[in-house]
Symmetry: C2
Subunit: 262 residues, 2 copies
C-alpha cells in the first residue's frame, strides 16, 4: 500500500482572518502523516496595490497581472504570507519549509496564451518537480507553497493556487496515495445554495455528470469540480471540499464533500 | 580533505543595478562546486516604504524595524528579490532554492536586547540548521538566502545579511572547508581610502591588529573585519572581500582582500 500524502489548499478568506487562520493552523499541525500546504493570497495583495496606487486591470471579470501586480503578488504570496505561515507552523512544532514554484524549479510554467486576451504575467503549469517534493517530505518537512511559478527563461508568473495544488497532487500520485483538500469558508458542495445544510457528502464522476445535467451544481463550483475530476483522473485518490475549520472531519468524511472517481 | 563550500554575500548596490546584477549572476553560475548565495536588500525596501507612506525610524544612525517595516522587508527580501534571483539562476542552469531563516528553522534568532535602544523586530542569531543546508547542497541545489529569520514563537525578525552569511559559514565549517566572500561595489580593504589601487591583498589576524593600531583601517570597515576574524576563529577557512564583478579573481586571490587567521 502506498503511503498517504495530504495536500491542503486554503483559500484567501481564511488568510484574511487572523483568528480563523490560527484555528486552521492548529488543526493542520495535528494532521498525521506527510502533508503539504498550498496557499493563495487573500486581500493583502489588493490592499497593497491600492496603497501603492497600482490600478487593478480586469478583462472579462478576470484580473490581469501586469508587471507591478506581479511584483506585488510575488512579495505578498511568496514573501509575507508564505514566511509568516512557515514561522507559525515551525513554532507549533510542524517543521515547515516555504517555497514558490520557482524554487528548485518546483513548478515550471509558461505565460498563458489566449487568442484574444493578454492575461499578463499569468502562468499555466507545464511540469512539477515531484522528486524535490518527495525529498522534502522524506526529511519530515512540510512544504508550504505559494502560487508563484517561473518559466524556463526565469520570468516569474502568477498562477492559480487551486491549479498548483492539483498539479502537485498529480505529480505525487506516482509514488503516494494523494488526498487533496480544498479548504475554504463554505461547508462543501451544496444541493441547494440557499441551504447551508444541503451539503452533498459524496460525489463520484457519474453522479457529477448527472448533477451537471440537472443544473444542481452552481456556476462558481463547476470549474472547481471539473478540475477536481481531472485531478482524480490523473491519479489522485480522493478530493475533499469543505470548511477549513473542520479539517479533521473533512478528512474523515464526516463533513464537506468527498469526490472520488468511481 | 574536506569538500569546499563557497558562500557569497552580495551587497545592496549590486541588487539595485540590473546590468551589474546580471554580470554578477553570470559569474556566480560559473563557480564550480557547492555554493550558497546570501543577499541583502538594496533600495527597493526603502522605495516601497516611501510609496506606502511608512516612515523610516532611525535611532543613533540605525534603522528601527517597526511592524510595517518588518512586513516590507519580508515582502521585498524573502519575496521579490529572493524569488527573482532563484528564477534567474535556474534559467541559467544553476539549480537554486530560495529560503529565509524561517524555512525549516534554518536560522533561529531572538529579538535584539539592548539596554537603551529598542531596535524593533531585529534578530540576533542563536543557531543554524546546518543539516538542512547540507542536505540541500547534497541534492545539488544552491540555497539562496534572504536575511529574514524567526524566533521560536514564530515571530519573523529582520537580520543583518553579513551576520547571516557568517553564521552559515560557521555552521558549515564542521563538515566542509568554507570560503566566504563579501562581494560588494568596492575593490577590497584599502590601505588608503583615496586610492582605489591600494587594496591590501592579504590580511592575517596579527596584521589586522597592527593595521587597527596604525589606524589604517577605516571606521566603516572595522565591524566587517572584526566579524570576519570572529568567523575565521569559528572555523571558516578563508574570507574574501572585494568587487562583486571580479568574483573569479577574488576566489583565486587575484583581486580583493583575502583574510585568513594565520
Amino acid at each position: 500500500m502506498q503511503e498517504t500524502v495530504t495536500i491542503i489548499k486554503i483559500g484567501g478568506q481564511i488568510l484574511d482572518n487572523e483568528s480563523k487562520l490560527a484555528l486552521f493552523l492548529e488543526q493542520f499541525v495535528q494532521l498525521p502523516g506527510k502533508k503539504i500546504l498550498v496557499h493563495g493570497g487573500g486581500k493583502l495583495a489588493t490592499t497593497l496595490a491600492e496603497k501603492m496606487g497600482v490600478q487593478q486591470q480586469m478583462v472579462d471579470g478576470r484580473r490581469i497581472t501586469d508587471s507591478e501586480t506581479l511584483r506585488i503578488v510575488t512579495m505578498v504570496y511568496a514573501g509575507y504570507i508564505n514566511k509568516n505561515l512557515v514561522a507559525s507552523l515551525n513554532a507549533q512544532g510542524c517543521s515547515s519549509i516555504g517555497l514558490c514554484g520557482a524554487d528548485g524549479s518546483l513548478i515550471i510554467a509558461h505565460k498563458r496564451q489566449h487568442p484574444t486576451i493578454d492575461f499578463g504575467w499569468v502562468g499555466d503549469i507545464d511540469s512539477v518537480n515531484g522528486q524535490l517534493l518527495s525529498s522534502l517530505l522524506l526529511q519530515a518537512l512540510t512544504p508550504v507553497i505559494a502560487p508563484i511559478t517561473a518559466d524556463t527563461t526565469g520570468q516569474l508568473l502568477n498562477t492559480n493556487a487551486d491549479t498548483v495544488a492539483a498539479s502537485l497532487a498529480t505529480a505525487l500520485s506516482a509514488n503516494y496515495s494523494v488526498q487533496l483538500v480544498y479548504a475554504f469558508e463554505r461547508s462543501g458542495v451544496l444541493r441547494n445554495l440557499e441551504d447551508a445544510d444541503s451539503v452533498i457528502p459524496h460525489i463520484h464522476f457519474a453522479m457529477y455528470q448527472q448533477l451537471l445535467q440537472e443544473k444542481i451544481i452552481a456556476d462558481g463550483m463547476i470549474p472547481k469540480l471539473e478540475n477536481a475530476f481531472a485531478t482524480l483522473a490523473g491519479g489522485a485518490h480522493k478530493i475533499m471540499i469543505g470548511n477549513a475549520l473542520q479539517l479533521s472531519d473533512l478528512l474523515q468524511g464526516h463533513a464537506g464533500t468527498t469526490l472520488t472517481y468511481e
